[in-house]
């Protein structure tokens, strides 16, 4: 079973146990509809067949809720759906089988009132105190404005896991942290310096992205997608645009695809440079922090000079891109690449040979490959723990379908691995940018938009700098968005932090956290 034919075999396994699947082809993905009572049983078989659980979300249609989950194997994705009634919105949980599904199901529980039967941890997740327990913001009858109190009270009584015993103490951290960083709450149980347990409490920056997406036109959705997580503005906009373009049957010009590739790889390099510096900074190796932030600044200035925005916001638009590349600006990029290569060739040996850095980064923050797999961990975090997956290679899309590159992989699973995977990814990205520039031929950068049929839906999947991004889009009539669900890789990576900090010391938490660098905003939506 080497390629896409796993679906045929798997469908017959499902038939054997009496799970009837209605197959509905959607643009770019197949939709499998099953009866809701079999939701969990499907997951059990999927687990046996080694499918990866990739995303889960719901959708409201009059008296019904659509419950969706997306699975992947060998780069082939399947969208699974079951329909429940709003009068009794319940179905058996998949989180009992796939830990990766845990928080997404809690999100659907809070936002739609779905009752996932047997869920191992059905505490509220996205909901704090901004709306009441029996209110569901993503149901169509819930007004965008909601019914907020003048001052939303803090979520004081969230039932955190407790630990008891001699010498065990608790450290609450956040939501406002000490550095220049997004807000979230971490609850540690520790003995001496040793972390016994870490529990994350997120959703502090939940700002209703899914709700305010509804009713937008494609351009406006692209702009919103570019602000799901500022560091991933290219990645999210691309995923959302891919979903919309597939749903509308719009094919983007080859030149636009290459430019998107250049933008995405530039975003990857910028973030990896920032992270590598920050990881070094968290273990007080300021030399590297200064060098990497300097290189990042050079890189962003080239972005501003060539594309007109340091973070590349709003450069990808539905149907193509909003920026072109002249020969001079291509030369500027090429020059920046060789400069960066040269600098890194001087800096990396100094970093590599630094024994104090080695002391702090090796073996710290260990994430075992089997745990990474169970949580569906993505991107550099997954790849540093042996999870050999990259959308660009395994489910290639233009322009990556015409490119050759190596996916960085390590299996040590520690902070050092995540550091070196980033470095390898920078090198691969630099090569890709050069390749994309060499492939550019004259041509359009924007395809004409076509209003999709009401009800059209699709999934846009791209490899962002943090890993696989998955955007679900359904259109209503008149080119308006009916449903948008962006799944940032952070949604699957955050739980890995709870695992990789275990048995580390409290002072190493910042560097553990940095090595994973989840997006709070991308998680909280």
């Amino acid at each position: 079973m080497s390629s896409s034919n796993w679906t045929t075999d798997f469908l017959s396994q499902l038939a054997d146990v009496g799970i009837a699947v209605e197959q509905i082809p959607l643009p770019a993905i197949s939709l499998w509809q099953i009866a809701s009572p079999q939701w969990q049983q499907f997951a059990e078989l999927a687990m046996l067949a080694d499918l990866r659980w990739a995303s889960g979300w719901a959708e409201h249609h009059d008296e019904r809720l659509f419950i969706n989950a997306c699975f992947e194997k060998y780069g082939v994705y399947v969208l699974l759906r079951a329909i429940v009634n709003t009068a009794k919105p319940e179905l058996p949980s998949q989180a009992t089988v796939y830990p990766a599904a845990n928080r997404s199901e809690r999100h659907s529980q809070d936002m739609y009132g779905v009752n996932f039967l047997g869920h191992p941890d059905n505490r509220r997740w996205t909901r704090h105190k901004a709306w009441a327990k029996n209110h569901y913001p993503l149901r169509k009858d819930f007004p965008v404005a909601g019914m907020p109190e003048t001052i939303t009270p803090p979520d004081m009584d969230y039932p955190f896991v407790k630990a008891y015993g001699a010498g065990v103490y608790e450290i609450p951290v956040g939501p406002v942290h000490a550095g220049i960083i997004e807000p979230g709450h971490f609850r540690f149980q520790a003995v001496g310096e040793l972390i016994l347990n870490l529990e994350e409490r997120l959703a502090y920056v939940h700002k209703g992205i899914e709700k305010i997406a509804e009713g937008r036109n494609p351009e406006s959705l692209a702009r919103l997608a570019g602000r799901i997580s500022g560091d991933t503005t290219v990645g999210h906009t691309w995923a959302a645009c891919r979903a919309m373009e597939q749903a509308a049957g719009v094919e983007i010009p080859a030149r636009a695809a290459l430019l998107r590739g250049i933008l995405a790889e530039r975003e990857r390099v910028a973030n990896h440079l920032g992270d590598m510096g920050a990881i070094c900074n968290d273990v007080a190796f300021v030399f590297a922090q200064m060098q990497f932030t300097r290189l990042r600044e050079d890189w962003l200035r080239t972005n501003a000079a060539v594309f007109g925005h340091r973070l590349l916001m709003d450069k990808i638009i539905p149907g193509g891109v909003a920026c072109d590349l002249t020969d001079e600006s291509a030369a500027l990029i090429t020059q920046g690449i060789s400069q960066l290569r040269k600098e890194l060739s001087e800096i990396m040996p100094a970093v590599d040979l630094n024994s104090s850095l080695e002391d702090r980064l090796y073996t710290a923050g260990y994430l075992a490959p089997d745990i990474a797999k169970a949580f569906g961990t993505l991107g550099y975090v997954g790849r540093a723990s042996g999870q050999d997956f990259d959308v660009r290679r395994d489910a290639p899309y233009a322009p990556y379908d015409q490119a050759n590159f190596k996916v960085a992989l390590e299996d040590q699973g520690d902070i050092a691995s995540r550091f070196w995977v980033r470095y390898k990814e920078i090198n691969a990205a630099l090569k890709l940018i050069g390749h994309f520039i060499s492939q550019l031929t004259a041509g359009d950068i924007l395809a004409e938009w076509q209003t999709p049929l009401p009800g059209s839906e699709s999934l846009g999947i791209v490899e962002g700098w943090r890993g696989e991004i998955m955007a679900y889009v359904r259109f209503a009539d008149d080119n308006k968005i009916a449903r948008f669900y962006p799944r940032d890789p952070s949604i699957l990576n955050w739980p890995a932090l709870e695992k990789l900090t275990l048995n580390n010391i409290v002072p190493d938490f910042p560097v553990c956290n940095k090595s994973l660098n989840g997006s709070y905003s991308g998680n909280d939506l």
Partner: protein, 169 residues
């Protein structure tokens, strides 16, 4: 160690000169001073940055202020870990409702006299997110704001000029 020193020497000092801005320059950069500040800051400002719901784009550019090109500390502007040590709150994002109380408490914990700088279009007016069941919109909807630095996100240069604009001129 030698490699390290060699690279430091090779890199040299990259910090760029930056003049304290005049009012019209501030205006051109999209910076509004809501309350004029005089004599309060001479030579040092302690800043507590609070992300009250941003997309993290603004944080990336605030971070850049500490890179060797801008090196904002040379002006005595530094970021502190506690609001109790701060003169200025640098607030980003539309204020999410889940952060409303945290922002209010941070504001209360900051000793007087204190100033609030709203950074980014979201903090200035709600930006792409506006006022909803989940978002209070602009920072001024929650706490009094003294200066607005707009942009999505504002560039480090605009941020630096804005903060220098707080200093005695």
């Amino acid at each position: 160690m030698l490699r390290l020193l060699k690279k430091i020497l090779q890199t040299g000092v990259v910090t760029e000169a930056c003049k304290v801005p005049k009012d019209d320059e501030l205006e051109a950069l999209g910076i509004q001073i809501k309350r004029h500040i005089d004599k309060q800051f001479s030579g040092s400002i302690a800043i507590r940055q609070v992300d009250a719901g941003s997309c993290n784009g603004c944080e990336l550019e605030i971070h850049a202020l500490n890179n060797p090109y801008y090196d904002i500390e040379r002006y005595g502007i530094h970021f502190v870990a506690s609001p109790r040590h701060a003169d200025v709150l640098l607030v980003t994002g539309p204020v999410s409702r889940h952060m409303q109380t945290a922002l209010l408490r941070t504001y209360e914990a900051t000793p007087n006299p204190k100033w609030v700088v709203a950074v980014g279009d979201c903090a200035a007016c709600g930006g792409e997110f506006g006022v909803t069941y989940a978002s209070c919109g602009a920072v001024a909807n929650v706490i009094p704001v003294d200066m607005v630095i707009s942009g999505c996100p504002p560039t480090p240069l605009a941020l630096m000029k804005g903060l220098l604009g707080l200093m005695v001129r």
